[in-house]
Symmetry: C2
């Protein structure tokens, strides 16, 4: 099951399910939802939904994957965001968008914790996602450093980790108190790390 190779089982339907699940969770939130709840929201019985996935954990992992896929379509493929000039606006834009879909933020954070267990289906997902995110970042950050728009006191790889951590950490704060400005705070970090903002007034 779940294998796309050979003659996969209802791949199209599967994708459709994931997209619907995504909408539902984004709109109605995620509170440790059970398979049954999600199934009904998607218009299937619990058993019917699990027909397409091996387990609950796999199901939710696939939802996260689908989300990345959808996002990267909407916000332009990563390569584009990767361009140094658009890194900041692209990143901040995604975060601003996330503030519109609290359910997905919760799902992501919850899974991130559960997936700490190397046995969890989402474990590899998070590792790979982190790697690729930082890869994209490092490239763009290096370019910014070359241009003198970003501090070069710290290695770009470390800065990439920091940006990732800030984004994830701000989500935690925001879940407790949705009134805070996730995107604005991350944006401020770019300012704080821009050496040009610190030249003496008599430039």
């Amino acid at each position: 099951m779940a294998q796309r190779g050979s003659y996969a089982k209802g791949v199209a339907k599967r994708e459709e399910i994931l997209e619907r699940a995504l909408e539902v969770i984004a709109r109605e939130g995620y509170r440790g939802a059970s398979v049954k709840e999600l199934a009904e929201a998607v218009g299937l019985s619990q058993a019917g939904l699990l027909h397409y996935f091996d387990s609950k954990e796999e199901l939710f992992t696939e939802i996260l994957r689908k989300r990345d896929e959808v996002d990267s379509r909407q916000f332009g493929p990563m390569p584009e965001v990767a361009e140094a000039t658009h890194l900041r606006s692209g990143f901040v834009g995604i975060i601003r968008h996330n503030a519109e879909v609290p359910g997905l933020v919760q799902l992501f954070s919850r899974m991130a914790v559960d997936a700490a267990d190397p046995q969890h289906p989402a474990h590899r997902y998070f590792l790979d996602r982190g790697d690729s995110l930082r890869e994209t970042f490092v490239e763009a950050l290096r370019e910014l450093q070359r241009r003198g728009e970003l501090t070069d006191v710290v290695d770009a790889g470390v800065l990439a980790r920091i940006f990732q951590a800030v984004a994830d950490g701000m989500q935690l704060q925001w879940m407790q108190d949705p009134s805070i400005d996730m995107a604005g705070t991350v944006s401020a970090l770019f300012d704080a790390l821009d050496p040009r903002n610190r030249k003496d007034p008599d430039e």
Copy 2:
């Protein structure tokens, strides 16, 4: 119950239980532990343990509180860490210490997600803890800004949020991959935000 007022029920024992729980979780890790598991590890039956707490959620919330209490004893009371000069070393020290107690990091992160629900007993805990952490930080950060050791491009309150987010976010990354250097990365952020590191070589 759980009220310290009037004639509390075995307050001493309660505290002892929390301290033991802390040790056990720190040492043996936390994998969404059940009350029963924890109870046995602490030398009680499930019912025996729940005699001291209203519910599982309340129990684990209290464990987090106890942890803060213990930590603040070990690392000097917050007021001391709050001193600008020691902010960085104090903060980084705590993070380094956290890397020695993975179970507590997991418990904290897990609870942070669950407590997004305003009904959760730990909801207030996280709000208050965040407030007080940032309060402490803001004071010290302002002093650093005055001394010219920290960028003043961004408001100290925002910087405080950023530091909190980085610490929390690095924990998530570290749970996935314990080989990364949480403390070192946070430390690097201090460097990156220090304007003195950016003066021209011909100072």
